[in-house]
Homo-oligomer: 372 residues x 2
């Protein structure tokens, strides 16, 4: 039995691979009806912070993992010390949860990162002036999907600083945002996925994920090397999403580490020999890793919720008329605007054609709420 | 909500695709713990023959389908007449369930089939002598996986005739057994999969399924045409497995029709653009079909149970060390000798290498019972 803390779409896709390999699934999630609930053998309803519920999950599971980072690390550390296998290790989670500690750890490991300093809440403005604008503020804890980040372009914008313990990072002129998934097993063997490229829209929301990234081979190799270095520095077991910047001057810099399957790795389900989810399940259960080779180029986009209420999928029939289109609807019980309700992967031997189809299908398929 | 009668491995793999597309799953199965039970939103425990339970399933489902042929057709016909969508139509099931009617229907449709005659229980011997040996007896009802079939080579073997209403078929000298999966949607659009080849061992148990079949292109096209003709003759909606013989004199003849996902189509999960299971779900829910193109050659074998008791999977770790190996364990609660407990698909750009790896992995991976 594999115990998963968090019952969202990442857990759902993990569970599907785990079931294929014959494993049972137990899940802890606060929602009565979560995407993975219909696939779980055992459902425990409770908060990700509830130590007792996490212990209940551990007792019925052979191994614990998670699909979300904001969970009770203390209890997981206790469990790990008591001998319960928890992958990736809660020690990694502790590092990742605090962006300052994450960057300090990476700096120590020799990973190229943007310049940064620590700036506690009571000294934010002084530190910002000292560090110099333009800069990017990242709150140490709690940020995700662009939350907890402020961009300060000039000293006039210093009043936009978020009033919380933070780190301040140099503002990098970005050519492209790229990412690499890395899997590492319990013996330290590694499988690296190709470099992918994230294309954002004006509102800084991911528009398309393009695999492979349209970058030079040398830069791709450099990004893969950095991603491996990150996971090795963390002594990570499982799958990791490593987000990086390719700066305008051609440097690759680490942006952020996700110690779990990642949105930028969804394309692996259809486009790679082994999906990020199967790879994760293999790693945490002590099985050897699969081949991470890209079989066919792919473009992925998220299907974001529109409106509120119970979800209704529109355009499925029209969308599926295009060849190479794979629709994943997560089965979340309610819609909220911009909530990730599903994703679509388009594969095509010709990456340009995949992108063309993805652009068309993105305008067609919608998940809208029934509450007007 | 998709209602599935039968909760075995075929239903499990259907359910996984259905969930991906965002559909709910209800299942009727006599076992408390069936492979699909952990994935279903609603589980009804009852016999496949229990009309009331089938009606209960229909009431909570938007469409009914099945993963097994020996079910209560009468109730399904009533439901269809009352306007409940049932795919494939129970009328097809009625034809398929009786091998004599199946062959008569195919003959009428102009599908090439082995010569056959009807032989009722009380006239078996006379009919067999009249028809001439060697011959193959097939019982009209209840046969599967080689059961309900007797091969009579000489008149001396006439005492081996199974004492039940049957059809007698000419004994075809077989070069290869081949199969084609065909999907047909509610508008009559068709997607045909490549021809695959079934390699049997001495005990007449499927050893390996080889995709694509190692046959001439002309013969492959002929087999695909026959498969399409069969499904059109049945006015089928859903996925169909069409088993055929390639005789020693180069003729392609229909052997048997399965109105559901089929063992010989498991390779499509990893090797084709759209799996047989996704194709079935698309067809029965009114969605357009996907592309059935083969992306990479594949070899599949069934993992058959050894012994009795609760299943234990052996050799998984060693098996997964080989590249391109996909293991599917069905999650059946108990093992029986020769019971299908899972399957393995091996993909490789070089079909010969896929076969080599499959042969190795087949010796490694086992599902054994814990009851000595």
């Amino acid at each position: 039995m594999i115990g998963i803390i968090g019952g969202g779409q990442l857990a759902k896709m993990m569970a599907q691979e785990a079931r294929k390999l014959g494993f049972g699934i137990a899940v802890l999630d606060p929602q009565e009806k979560c995407p993975v609930c219909g696939l779980a053998d055992v459902k425990i309803t409770g908060s990700f912070m509830d130590g007792e519920k996490i212990r209940n999950l551990a007792e019925i599971s052979d191994v614990l993992t998670y699909d979300i980072e904001h969970i009770n690390v203390e209890v997981l550390k206790e469990l790990e010390e008591e001998g319960y296998p928890v992958y990736p290790s809660p020690k990694i989670l502790e590092i990742i949860q605090d962006k300052l500690v994450q960057m300090e750890t990476m700096k120590k490991a020799g990973v190229p990162i943007p310049k940064f300093i620590r700036a506690d809440r009571d000294e934010l403005t002084e530190k910002a002036i000292e560090f110099g604008v333009p800069l990017v503020q990242k709150t140490r804890r709690g940020g995700y999907d662009g939350k907890g980040v402020a961009v300060i372009r000039t000293e006039k914008e210093l009043d936009k600083l978020l009033p919380t313990d933070s780190m301040l990072q140099e503002f990098v002129e970005i050519e492209k945002e790229i990412a690499v998934m890395v899997a590492r097993d319990q013996d330290g063997n590694i499988e690296v996925y190709p470099v992918v490229e994230m294309v954002f829209n004006e509102a800084n929301i991911l528009d398309f994920l393009v695999a492979p990234a349209r970058i030079d081979e040398d830069i791709a190799r450099e990004a893969q090397d950095i991603a491996v270095k990150v996971v090795e520095a963390l002594d990570g077991v499982g799958i990791f999403g490593i987000e990086m910047f390719l700066s305008k001057d051609g440097t690759v810099l680490l942006n952020e580490v996700a110690p779990r399957p990642h949105n930028s790795g969804h394309y692996t389900i259809e486009a790679c020999m082994t999906s990020q989810f199967e790879q994760h399940i293999r790693a945490i259960t002590g099985l050897p890793l699969g081949n991470s080779e890209l079989l066919v180029p792919a473009v992925m986009f998220n299907v974001l919720g529109e409106g509120y209420g119970r979800p209704k999928v529109l355009g499925m029939k029209e969308a599926l008329r295009y060849p190479g289109v794979y629709v994943h609807i997560y089965g979340k019980p309610v819609v909220r605007p911009l909530r990730k309700m599903g994703h679509v992967t388009v594969v095509n031997k010709d990456l340009g054609k995949a992108l063309e189809v993805a652009q068309k299908v993105k305008r067609i398929i919608k998940v809208v709420g029934d509450d007007p």
